[in-house]
Amino acid sequence: MNGFISSFQRTARLTARHPLDAAHAVAFFIIVTSLISVTVDNATTSGNRDAFVIAIMWVVVLLATMLGCAAAYSQDYEDGSLELLVAHQRPLFPSVLGSMMGLWFFSTLPILLCVPLGAWMLTLSTSVWWMLLLTLLAGSIVFTLFGVLGAVLTLGIGRNGVLMALLVLPLYVPVLLLGVGACQRYANGETFEFALASLFAIAVALVTFVPFAIAALLRVSQEY
C-alpha cells in the first residue's frame, strides 16, 4: 500500500512541476480532431456519420494516450531512481500500479475530458456521447497499460518512439475493435451489452496482470 501511495504522489508531483508534458497529448488530441472537423464535411460521411466519428475518436484517443506514455520510467532509468526502486521494493507490483494510476489520472484523463469537445466539433449525435465516454474509459485504461509496457520494453534504447509503436500496436487492436464495435452498435440501436461487458472485463483483467509484466520488465532492465 505504501508503494502504491508513494508512486502515485510522486507521479502527481512530477506532473504538477511539468504540466506541459501532459498538455502535449491533450493538444495533440484537440489539433487532430479540429483538423478532421474542418476537412471532413457531413456530406462525405452521409448516412453513417456517428459510426465514422466514433472510430475517429477512438483512434485519436489511442494515439494521444500512446504519446503520453512514451516517456514512462525513462527519467527514472536515467537518474538511477529505478535502480533504487528495484533494489528496495519487494514486491514491485504496488508501486507499478501506483505509477500507472497516476499516469492515467494525470495524463490520460485530461484527454478523456476533451472528448466531448471533439464529439461536438465532429457533430456526433448527443445521445451517443455518454456511450463513447464510457467505452473510452475502459479503453484508455488499457491503452495506458500497454503504452507503459511498450515504454518499459524499450528502456535504455533511446529514441524509442517508433519501436514502441511497432511493439504495442498489435496489442491495442482487439480492444480498439471491441470498443468501437460496442459504441457503434449502441449508435445503430443494436445489442451492445456483450461487447461492452467484454471490454470492461478485459480492462479489469489487464489492470490485474499487466503491472506484473511491467514489474518483471523493470527488474530485467536493471540486469544489464
Partner: protein
C-alpha cells in the same frame, strides 16, 4: 569497533561468478562481511566493481554461485544519483524513505540535508544543484536509512575536502553502531581496520 570474531555476518558470498554480457569477469569470488567491517573494493576500470555491488544489492541475479544477505537491510549509493532532477532534495529524500520503509519525520529529513551541507538548498530542484551537491544529497540517504549494510560505489567522486571528511566520520560512526560498509573506490578512504578486496588479480 566491534570484535569481528563475534560479530554477526551480514553478507556471505561464496563461489560467485561475476559476469557481464556472458563474459566472466572474475570466477569463484568469496567474501564475508560482518558487523563493524569496512570492505574496500579496489581494481582497475571495467574490472567489475560496480557489477559486484549490483549483485550485492540484488538488482542483478547470478545464475551460479551463492550470495546470502542476512536481511534486506541495505542502502545503496551508486554512481547514478537516484535523485529526480525535477524534485527537490527534500522530496527525493522523502521518496527514498518511503520506498525503503524507514519512517522519518520531515524534520529528520531536513536535519539529514543540513548534515550534508544542503540546508539552504532543500527546496531547490535537484537538477539545479552542482555535481558535488547532488553527490552530497545522495549521501544524505545514508543518514535517513535504518540499513545495517551500506553499499557505496565511488562515494568520493565530486566531493570536496569537507564532504569527504564528513563521509569518513559517518562511516566510522556507522561501524561503531554495528553497521558494515562495502565501498568500491579508487582512492582508499584511509580508515583503520579496513579489509581490501583487490579485483582483477585473482
Amino acid at each position: 569497533m566491534v570484535n569481528t570474531t563475534n560479530a554477526k555476518k551480514l553478507l556471505t558470498i561464496s563461489n560467485l561468478n561475476v559476469e557481464v554480457a556472458d563474459k566472466v569477469l572474475f570466477p569463484n569470488l568469496s567474501l564475508q562481511v560482518r558487523e563493524g567491517e569496512l570492505v574496500e573494493i579496489h581494481g582497475a576500470n571495467g574490472v567489475g566493481k560496480s557489477t559486484l555491488l549490483r549483485y550485492i544489492i540484488g538488482t542483478r541475479r547470478s545464475p551460479n554461485g551463492t550470495l546470502i544477505r542476512v536481511s534486506d537491510d541495505v542502502v545503496y549509493v551508486g554512481q547514478k544519483s537516484g535523485l529526480n532532477p525535477t524534485l527537490t532534495p527534500l522530496e527525493n529524500l522523502r521518496w527514498f524513505t518511503q520506498i525503503t520503509g524507514s519512517k522519518r519525520t520531515p524534520k529528520e529529513l531536513m536535519g539529514a540535508l543540513m548534515q550534508v551541507g544542503l540546508g539552504s538548498f532543500m527546496r531547490t530542484p535537484t537538477g539545479a544543484l552542482s555535481a558535488g551537491q547532488i553527490r552530497r544529497c545522495g549521501l544524505a540517504k545514508l543518514v535517513v536509512s535504518d540499513a545495517k549494510l551500506w553499499v557505496l560505489d565511488e562515494p568520493l567522486t565530486s566531493l570536496d575536502a569537507s564532504a569527504t571528511e564528513w563521509l569518513r566520520e559517518a562511516i566510522s560512526e556507522h561501524r561503531n553502531k554495528n553497521g558494515a560498509v562495502i565501498c568500491a573506490t579508487h582512492a582508499s578512504l584511509g580508515l583503520p581496520a579496513a579489509t581490501t578486496l583487490q579485483l582483477g588479480e585473482l
